[in-house]
Amino acid sequence: EDQVTQSPEALRLQEGESSSLNCSYTVSGLRGLFWYRQDPGKGPEFLFTLYSAGEEKEKERLKATLTKKESFLHITAPKPEDSATYLCAVHAGSQGNLIFGKGTKLSVKP
């Protein structure tokens, strides 16, 4: 069964304290891995798509990487405005629906 697991469930950081969020997946025929940011009470906002192992993408303080079994979202020198829930999803199977993890809630304190 296709599955996506994110860890940790919650992460508290001090401003400037770099860290990583993990997304492990077991799917047959990965067609893409996605990262979204979700602020409280709002819909998920698209961040990155990764397609193959070894691929990396960056946006401001965020960098996403992909291996054959997991993806990492690295946050460098985070700021309080980076506080949000980060969702990972994979695109697999013939119909192409996304399978979501349950997210990591990131809190960055000043």
Binding site: G43, F46, A89, Q95, N97, L98
Partner: protein, 113 residues
């Protein structure tokens, strides 16, 4: 920029009422989706549509139906609302199945009392 608009941000309905949640996208996308999001359960797919007048059941279709009469509009219908349908509902769209990125609306908070 892709714009997915959900017409109602907050609704309060009574048990047994018929509820319509409307979603419009402005990018001529073929595929549209309805998810619900609950604490601890994450996002779960209710229904999706690959094109006008087409619909497919997702993981949790029970108690819901959908309508897609025009390409830009995808409606979620709760025929007889129940308290266990209190949730955040998210509409999303995608250009087509060969373009993977799904874009979400802002969400509709539904409370059934």
């Amino acid at each position: 920029d892709v714009k997915v608009t959900q017409s109602s941000r907050y609704l309060v309905k009574r048990t047994g009422e018929k509820v319509f949640l409307e979603c419009v996208q402005d990018m001529d996308h073929e595929n549209m989706f309805w998810y619900r999001q609950d604490p601890g359960l994450g996002l779960r797919l209710i229904y999706f549509s690959y094109d006008v007048k087409m619909k497919e059941k997702g993981d949790i279709p029970e108690g819901y139906s959908v309508s897609r009469e025009k390409k830009e509009r995808f409606s979620l219908i709760l025929e007889s609302a129940s308290t266990n349908q209190t949730s955040m509902y998210l509409c999303a769209s995608r250009a087509d199945s060969s373009h993977n990125t799904i874009y979400f609306g802002e969400g509709s908070w539904l409370t059934v009392v």
